[in-house]
Amino acid sequence: MGLLKWPRWWVMPRKLREKGILGMNKRNADYIMRYNPRRLYPLVDNKLITKQLALKNGIAVPALYGVIEIQHQIRDLEKMLKDRQQFVIKPAHGSGGNGILVVSGRFNKGYQKAGGELINIDAIEHHVSNILSGMYSLGGLPDMAIIEYCVQFDPFFEHIIYRGVPDIRIIVFRGVPVSAMIRLPTRESDGKANLHQGAMGIGIDIASGVSCSGVHHNRIEDKHPDTGYAVTSIEIPHWQQILHTAVKCADTVGLGYLGVDIVMDRELGPLMLELNARPGLNIQLANQLGLLKKLQQVEAIGELPKSVDERIAFAVKLEK
């Protein structure tokens, strides 16, 4: 099937260069190593610090319900959860969306995961315990578990997606948003918005905030795999606000090559979910466009404007 649709299994490197595709090696060597000083990594690798930093700088984030730092505190987990119907538990040092538990409802003693599965408090406690012992953190170091507000997604997305929370990923390079996509969870991704877990990625035009093309499992698709709803030509609401948030995040943490993940909450509008110092390359697939050309255009500018608006204007100009 895949063979018929894409008869070629490989493309020549020259073709990728023509398209301005950024490869993993080049991303690491020429962008991450050059523009992301290592000392700033903790600001984004520790989601608790990111959250506190964002709050200090007036960036909207999901509310923090609680933090569990040591195994002993797990006993208080149930108390901490109170009677919240929905919440998210995630590792402070998680990567790639691993270790995130989304509870979307409660029935008697049971908790319903975003995927629909019912689990009990023991399972949640075990999950927290795993987080603390470093199962999901880089290098297996002991970690913290963050319990936070579960984003109530904007009804706007309701008919497009199957379940879970869609998020918007924006690559901000030197404070200029250069590429954006929206990630839609699928049945396969178990409500998670990570492309390598089976979520769908849809490229967004930076200037207009209108979705252009979609990708699912490295294949180009125009329809959501579960709902069949067309995902192109959707206008993302609050687009300017989203861009503002992304650029402000980049200014706050000071990383030159940053991935900003933003979710749309029904009442609260765009909320910054997390930042990523090593954003993936799939955004190129979603946009059907390489990053390299824009990155080089931004690199060519010696001094970029200070104000957020001017930089967004510059980004819009680049898009055209």
């Binding site: 894409w6 990728l16 398209k19 993993m24 090696n25 790639g96 691993n98 199962m135 877990q197 059907q288």
Partner: protein, 509 residues
Amino acid sequence: MNKGIVRFWAVLLIALGLGIAFYKIYYLGLPATPQQSTEVWTVQARLVFEGEGKPAKAALHVPDVTPGFLKLDEDFISSHFGLAIDKTDGNRRAEWSVRRAKGDQTLYYRVILARSDMDQTWTSVPRYPKKPEYQEPFASAIKATLDDVRSESADIGSYTRELLIQLNSAQPNENVQLIRGQVGTDNAAWVREIVEILKGVRIPGRILWGLNITDASNRATLEPLLQVHNGKQWLTFHPVTAAQGLPKNFLAWRVGDVPLYELEGGKNAKLEFSVTKTYEEMIDIARKGAKQMNSFFADFSLLSLPVQNQNVYRLLLMVPLGALIIVFLRTFVGLKTFGTFMPVLISLAFRETQLYWGMFLFVAIVSLGLILRFYLERLMLLLVPRLASILVIVVILMLLISLVSTKFGYERVLSITLFPMVILAMTIERMSITWEENGAQEAIMQGLGSLAVACLGYLVMTNENLMYLMFVFPELLFVVLALCLLMGRYTGYRLSELRRFRAIVAEDK
């Protein structure tokens, strides 16, 4: 700009590594491939005499300068004799002495030789001899012969050759007949005679004694050759055929007419030479030879380590190659594996178990471990106790496999003991997490990827030629380092990306 510095270091390191390796190959004669063997001769001189019950002293000339041959090893065997060796003008003399020698005494000198192109020659410079007063009628015969030759030659070498040709001519003239008549058929006397004649034109000459060691023989004798000094070096000629240069199989033993052996306090002395030919690995020869040459690099060779340590280094030196493969597969191919260097450790384990058994064990233990790990997940254990449990399970599995296979007569599995159980336990843990987080397909793909890399690593790391190269030329590690540096600055696409991003390009049409 970074790239330039990296390239500079890479070039420097490669030049350094290859430079030292080439030096060792071309100047120290270390072979570049293993299992090259070459002829080696053991030459033995056996001196037998009868002691007279009083202090005895026996002296024997032994080879000093041996052009064309390299002395790999030397032995002076004597039961209770004291030994002193002294060097005199172009010769070496071994002197055995004992306070009281009674009855049959046997002394051995043994030398092990290999052919060598190493430059070695006699350095002694003789004084010009005085023109001797020949007796008539020889005086005029010699003078006439010398005058004949002089008109036809340019230098001492050609002069000597010409003289030898004339003196050995098949149709000798009267003068030559007269000279020849003075000596018999004895080659040594003939050489001495020629040395005397050459004094007439003040060319320094001497007799060179040596052994022909073509074949194994128990009755070899020293044979004489003629040497003349041309002001720079000694030239060697055959006294009869006039062929110049040392014959290929001629082992120079001693120069001049000094006695081959001397004896005090004994009688009935007898000297016998024997030659045997054997084959020895080139590497051993090179090593011994390098030692003789007092080379810095030979002193710092891993071959000078005790043998049991050598084996550890043999293994150790292959690990960087394994790492190099990983670097290549990651930056150029984009292969995913569990743990960066885990496959290298698995490869090392394969060395113990052999490839197929190793693969079987890896797959068996990891799959069984995974099944049990999925059950452990339901028990909701803390991470470290869970890891420890997996470790224990891995050890139990290894024991079971060993016991079962021994029952069926597969001894091979007993070598499983060195299989890295901690690595296996970590692999199982990581694989199960990947399984849950990213799906079974991803986990199996990465598992198989790790196994494939481990196999590749095994094939490279057990390659005889590579093992030999790394061990004998550890400076090649500089080259490995340089390659790592270069690959570290590769910013092109990975092979996997050519596939990953193909959808973007395909859209064009």
